[in-house]
Symmetry: C2
Subunit: 473 residues, 2 copies
Amino acid sequence: MTTQEQTQASARDRSSYQPALEKLAHRFGERFSANRTVREQHANITSWHPVKVPDGVVFPESTEEVSEIVRICVEHRVPIIPFGVGSSLEAGVNATFGGVSIDMGRMSNVLAIHEDDMDCVVQAGVTRKQLNAHLRSQGLFFPIDPGADASIGGMASTRASGTNAVRYGTMKDNVLALTVVMPDGSIRKTGTRARKSAAGYDITRLFIGAEGTLGVITELTVKLYGIPQSIAAAVCPFPDLEAACNAVITTIRYGIPIARIELLDEAQVRACNLHSKLTLPEVPTLFLEFHGTEVGVKEQSDTVAEIANDWGGGPFEWASQPEDRTRLWQARHDVYWACLELRPGAKYLATDVCVPISRLAECMVETKADIEATGLVAAIVGHVGDGNFHVSIMAEPEDPEEMARVKGFLDRLNLRAIGMDGTCTGEHGIGEGKQAFLIRELGDTVETMRAIKAALDPQNIMNPGKVFTMPTA
Amino acid sequence: MTTQEQTQASARDRSSYQPALEKLAHRFGERFSANRTVREQHANITSWHPVKVPDGVVFPESTEEVSEIVRICVEHRVPIIPFGVGSSLEAGVNATFGGVSIDMGRMSNVLAIHEDDMDCVVQAGVTRKQLNAHLRSQGLFFPIDPGADASIGGMASTRASGTNAVRYGTMKDNVLALTVVMPDGSIRKTGTRARKSAAGYDITRLFIGAEGTLGVITELTVKLYGIPQSIAAAVCPFPDLEAACNAVITTIRYGIPIARIELLDEAQVRACNLHSKLTLPEVPTLFLEFHGTEVGVKEQSDTVAEIANDWGGGPFEWASQPEDRTRLWQARHDVYWACLELRPGAKYLATDVCVPISRLAECMVETKADIEATGLVAAIVGHVGDGNFHVSIMAEPEDPEEMARVKGFLDRLNLRAIGMDGTCTGEHGIGEGKQAFLIRELGDTVETMRAIKAALDPQNIMNPGKVFTMPTA
């Protein structure tokens, strides 16, 4: 926390929140809680950043109720922290200055599905798995898949992407319109169901990635896709990281519409073998998936197998049965649990960066050397089609010497990515954790963000302390 | 112009601009002009809105020079109108309150091409044809194609799209980063070359579609694509608009990655026959293009031919030779000239709306009936894969009775689209012409836009009078 923030934190006397908490308790009854356990469940629990607990949690069921909550909070200058499922990796749901966590979990209705238009309208608390279960009978799906069963609202707020982004884009590309509750409690619709529009500023995209600092997303209209006629998945081992990266670059350069192309380093493969009972050779490995018609999938996969072979990789091992495919991707999604096996008892620290794909091999190889030189237990897994990769570090947050080494490593990793004209986060967001890197990456453009924040949320009540700090109001 | 704007216009005493104009003349020499003809060339010339001429035109050659110009203008509160090639269709380049037009035409350098990353960095004045000529030898292309040979900066400012958007997206989807000169003259970089990022607010998307009201875009990093191995184009006649629309819906619903799917009504086909010496049957007709591998293109086009047949359309007439294909798309792009043949001597008025694709047939059919009932000479052409269509009206702007009918028609068209959960503009922008419809479409969300504008451009010098009006400063 900066000195400025500390001043701000003490300036916010949390006892002044009491009248608002009482009003919320009165208005929402059992749908408001000041219970310690409930509050702790709504603080940062998935990252290594220190936990900061909100003063109360409220469970609205409609946009209008969210508006009521915001009006009560703004009257008493109480911070608001929108909460989806809490899977944020940079402490985006921490109550930096205390305040009220708005748990969107009861706003989990799919409001409309428009099959012909391939879109749907959902409340922000719907999770991606809930949505896809809902859509299956219509032959449609929502492709964004960040691993965790995150809420669609939370995914929009952090501009999430995940394994399918190389083909289907990120949340930025898949939201048509939002309903948001603004910092003054007013309710705004940011767009229509038209597939494209040139009507005014892109307020939809402004809220996507704002991490709840400009308002509360309550409803979303999102794009859907037809479930592909044919899906094929495979794993492919490579002699080293560079060869695997080069195969990826060639695949992308050829314009092959690959649906997923994930790279696991040998440590990550070892972890997956241990946890998911796979028997993969413990070398850098690509996990691939192809979507399309039968002819198309065959053509794509033949071409990529050839490319892999050219770079010394292979052979492809196919998961042609749906259950094999599920097992494979479950193993990929379980890297969190798998990594814990690399160092039992240690805590999992996740981070991500994203670089132009031409720099990916260099960035990963340097990072791997840095992991070794720093003496860390860490694995690398990447959405490499986008140039995005994660480092999962298994560490002891209680050990200051080790944490100093971890922080040094994280500094070097982020600056390495930024130095390669990349970004300090491809999909995790800034939250509390990456604010210094955001400034290193975009410089005074952060001032433009601050000016927008100050204009829309002059009291700084919307998820304060995230993305960037604001001068004391 | 609203009363508020009139007050503002008179409040801006244009004689007060003189010191700034003199400074610019002194600083830029022959690259500044106050010549009447030059100024007229930099006002609105492609739409029916009354022409408003700037007080001077300046031709910068670098971002730093744009910054200098902005600093001079802001000191004297002189409006700035960024100018690409002037192809804006809603008077986006009109000098609503006079001021200085910044002609980006000399900033036409391609600064870097990154083949492996499939991106490039260009100055804002590069046109899409210049860029594609530059890229051809690398086997890459930039797909956004609004018809006019617009500048890339202008295309970003109006969130342009065009015929290829159904497959490749719009400008919103194809810009990675911008360099912008802010209203105070500071220079900001909004992003990196990473393919995706979750680092802070999406300032890139905020400038895309802002129509120059938040700053001047001077450089862009845009995505590129490999020139497809195989391209095939065809035309396909249909018995009526509904049948054609239904074929489009089915094509999109099947997830066929069609590159272009354009619908011309019978009036538009007649105009194209007249102008481009085609011999197409004068019925609603789809122009189609398929990109992919040879196998892929064959599969896609067979499927779409079957779909067309199911809806009573066909047969496909193929343009398999590159020169036939060029001729076909040239005819599509020449609708402006073609429509002039429908009523020699009349002026061309273009407008566009975009609706959810399930409502497209209904919207087009009602619009066609409205054209007839209103007694207008007008043709319809649409980027129908996105639900976006244009009405080209051939009218006499000097005839007040006819213009009253035209305006009544435009009102009904825009409200019809908005009433179908669509937008008043898919790609032309708001400019001067569609501000009332923007408010009808998004309501108080326009207040959010105004708040952002006021925060970033407190003096309202950046293209004032566009997108929305601001209270008198």
